[in-house]
Symmetry: D2
Subunit: 364 residues, 4 copies
């Protein structure tokens, strides 16, 4: 199976309904961080706004934001970033009648084009057949490695197991990871594994608990903080394997965002959740494929700020894919239930997912 | 069944082992936020440090912190709060031989005292018999209402359901909530329910989705931000029911900590995760009973900073109880697995838990 | 809220499409237990078959069976019960064009009739608001107590907990249980509780394990087998409480079906799974409301043989309701996913469900 | 890592306690299927009974049965198989004092022998590191293929997915399956896949639902029943792949036990649950490694009748291993919680488990 992007077609702006539509209405922000009444909230879909008779596409979108007219372009901005004086689109119709058009079906449906009439079974659970999903994901990642931007969102469990940790490190090494979003815990557990061969004091292969093992965790954090940065710690302690090590070695951007569960934290961690969101969005706005694994917090956060499409440098519009890998149906399907993104869920233990994916991509 | 605290007995410091023990060794912090080598890390248990021949109890403890000698007392401090020049206890023995004694069995075991030899079945799951846990919890909360400090840690789901939201509001109204720890989402969903009768646009009783319902969520946040505070929003919009409303009305402290999943956030939310931790710990260090419901993030965070005991104003030492209510065994048992606290898990949908608890406490 | 049945309207057989339709085709069974080629398989909906120019409703239906013409009526029969010579309807169209009409929307939708356009959120999970479901279920059970036939399908966990066991016993006592379907384990655990106050040797209230407690389970089974029947055991051992006791006392039919997990079994248990199915169907074909709790095996089995409607003695057609109570979304939603019945799932620990339901129905 | 069996050491019968012990007491069964008062119930461990001054090992044991003296040997028999006149061991001490000795620690602990003092973390969940378990399982299966008897207990989900179905078929083909225990559903879904490329009408690779797909399931059952046996169906329909096909081709014994959820059933299915148990036990009493996957019903049933040891033909005693693979901690750990067997749980989607296991064993 060859991975193939669906074609995107623009709305037919020559049709009467678009021509007759009024310009979008703008209102001025009166108070920092607060939108004017009747503001339009963006969605995950491509959206067009009629400005001075022209339909402008908001290029870097995400849901639940305000549409701000700025330098003749539409910027999509979180409410907290609105400034007094910003010009914000108002109106809640999405069919063009208020100068706002949400394009929900811009990508051609290949199956329908082939005249197939089969229907997908609703809902995905542990008994869904995942063979095809794996195969198509492998194809896709091979394509994206060179033509896209692959963002991984990682829960701490990936570092608890020797094989999954190594498998993910190899994916980084071979170019399948363009940015890594995670929390303090993933980095701490992985560095503990590099430094002490344990995670929370338990050997990541033999499952045996080291004597005074709980100190391994704290000692790792303390030592990194003493070094002043992860990079310096790696140098001083001659760390030579692991997820974080490979990120540093291959200059893969690493965004670590803090939470109230953190010990430490490591020096690189964003303490401020909203500065963390900004750093995440910077990478997600470039992403073409995102894979969230074994973390509800970070995956949902990523899903919330990821649109269903991306405008490439050559102005073509392409799909963005989101995979959610989790052992719990509730967690894996949560993005879909919130309507925040058309995410494909894979219900399994991420250890197996990442080991298999790595074997297929790196060895073949 | 009458709720009864277990007696606490001090270590027998007159015994030879304690008398012969050396003073605890102190080392000086050289770098802000970094502990000296071989630092001692605290646990959830009462810990005694021999200083100038005297055994001092660290009164406000929590696990995974440094023990700092300060004004003749032992302060238990997160590493990030260490300052250059602080005097920190070093040594990793816990049996007194290095002047550090961790008192793991200070509370008399009532059952053993009665000569009972029955054994508890290991592990708690959906099939555990919870009748006794409910009954003893009710007794305990009646006691704690007047003699203790009850801290609730709440996930957003409590505001999704009309009955559980009302049930919790009544608990606040009747004095069973001394502090509430939660995230931005709990507050937003609850205020949306007060303001629009929906949560994420869905009616919290009829389950029907309101037209343009997803705007209810954003409109609520935007309006609170416009008002500048939750309290002002309640006043201006004449809010008259709900969890947050009752907290404000009855001056129950509300600590809202931010996360990367947040929309908004509301003005009161701590953006900085570690300032949020400090605010949480302020209440948890006073707590005698903590109940975490349907939130892994906030409950584990709370568990991490909660000791197994509290020193009361009259210098007596009493137990601290932690209940973890979750529908997932994995989540509910996680605190126990990490060894961070002796938490009792109750495996159910928190809607039912809170409705029943409220009926039993408030109506009887 | 007053419980109200939806009206049922017959298909409009005066319309051209029904009048022009041919009689249904019949084929003769050639081999016991095997349907002829192209057999029609029944669904959960009311189905009409044109026989000699008349549209006959199959009155006691269930899905995945053959439609047999017998004495001028349509009997709905499992394939294993077909006999050589039986006349079976063949044809796989469901729109009348082959003399077979499946009436999928026979019940008026009250909400639509009110002109409401709200949309139900898809999927039900732990965060669904269940308040309305509880309230409407209580109303419904009060109605069904006198006007319907309430069948409960019970997993063993109900007998593990003192309060849920008592709560269910009170529902029986007060007439809310017209038949009980369960397995050997439910009966064994409940009788052990009556006989020894334990379940699998663990006290159902204090959670303490009795000395030699695992013998309690085996001793109970052995004693019942010695007595020759549950009823005789109850008499000889002077049993005076519990689920099984109340069934016997109030002559509530009890169908116990065997499985390969059973110890014993008790004398009343159906060893043959398919004879067990027949016994279950006898009650399910009379059922108007079915509640499956904490058992996937028995609930799915019941769901498979339950139609969405029942023809009452006065020939009116009414809806049949199916509730599925389970702590796992996967289990609770499974009936819906298989399309076997329009089941309403409630995601919680059944202990809480049954305690609350009993309190609401029995005390008010 | 080389797979290595632990040595077994007999109890030291030369010691005083064994020499002074009385002969075991025997009582006569008075009523078919009922044990005499104070019967001894067997466990999963090797058990010795003093008969005429000799300590006899019960060679084919399982828990919760009676010990019957017969032809000078101890037979371990389910209560339902007891016959009036049988001589049954009575007494509930397990330390030899009543002539009954349960040998709980007969296998040398290799780790302890090496002087290791590490402690295993309690409980296994989704975050347990499973790398070592996989590696040791692969080693073990390579050994058992030639020296043991490997029994698989399979849930229906294995046939829902193209890759896992093929992977398991290859394990059979290459000799890693000595007996297969499953239900009607596994066989039906697998044969539907062979016959129609779907499971319950859904393509097992593309996930698309076939037109009139639900008939695929029923048509498969009907056709097998028409053929009179699975073997005849395979011949007549020229079936050439799948799990059942490989079992038939390689003469791997297949025990299909019925349940109340079954459609059909297929001709080979045991309708009587207890005859099914007997057929299962026949294979389990020979088993040296058992792997239960994605079925609670069949795995627990198998676990209940599997001892922790097997007496080989040369009279040596060796360990029996039980693996429980399930995506739910509750299900995977259930055997351990019931104390029925020392089972090792692996928490993941069985699709991934079986695909990886097959790749490692068959390709290497």
């Amino acid at each position: 199976m060859q991975f193939q992007l669906r074609d995107y077609h623009d709305p037919d702006f020559s049709s009467e309904i678009f021509k007759k539509a009024p310009d979008a209405t703008l209102a001025v922000v009166g108070q920092d961080g607060v939108a004017p009444d009747d503001y339009h909230a963006t969605t995950i879909f491509p959206e067009y706004f009629k400005i001075d008779g022209e339909w402008l596409l908001a290029k870097q979108s995400r849901m639940d934001c305000a549409a701000v007219l700025e330098d003749g372009q539409i910027a999509v901005r979180e409410f907290r970033h609105l400034k007094a004086g910003d010009q914000v689109v108002v109106g809640r119709s999405e069919d063009g009648s208020e100068g706002i058009y949400v394009h929900v079906d811009g990508f051609d449906d290949v199956r329908q084009a082939n005249g197939e009439t089969f229907v997908f079974r609703q809902g995905r659970n542990r008994e869904t057949s995942f063979s095809m999903d794996y195969d198509s994901l492998y194809e896709q990642l091979r394509y994206e490695k060179d033509h896209g931007y692959i963002v991984w969102v990682l829960g701490p469990a990936c570092a608890f197991d020797a094989d999954s940790r190594t498998a993910f490190a190899r994916l980084i090494e071979h170019g399948y990871v363009h940015a890594l979003l995670a929390g303090n815990a993933l980095a701490v557990h992985d560095l503990e594994a590099s430094y002490k061969r344990s995670a929370l004091g338990q050997d990541i292969y033999t499952q045996l608990t080291h004597p005074h093992g709980h100190y391994n965790h704290l000692d790792t954090i303390n030592r990194v903080r003493q070094c002043g940065s992860i990079e310096e710690f790696i140098k001083e302690e001659k760390i030579s394997d692991g997820i974080i090590y490979e990120c540093v070695k291959h200059q893969v951007p690493l965004v670590l965002t803090g939470s109230i569960r953190d010990d430490g934290p490591l020096p690189e961690v964003y303490a401020n959740a909203y500065e963390g969101q900004d750093a995440m969005r910077e990478h997600l706005s470039k992403a073409t494929t995102i894979i969230g694994m074994a973390t509800t917090l970070h995956s949902i956060a990523a899903g919330n700020m990821t649109p269903s499409f991306r405008v490439m440098d050559d102005e073509t519009v392409r799909q963005v894919y989101f995979y959610m890998v989790d052992i719990s149906e509730f967690a894996a399907n949560k993005l879909g239930d919130r309507g925040s993104l058309s995410a494909r869920s894979i219900i399994t233990n991420m250890q197996d997912f990442v080991v298999q994916t790595s074997k297929n991509l790196v060895n073949s």
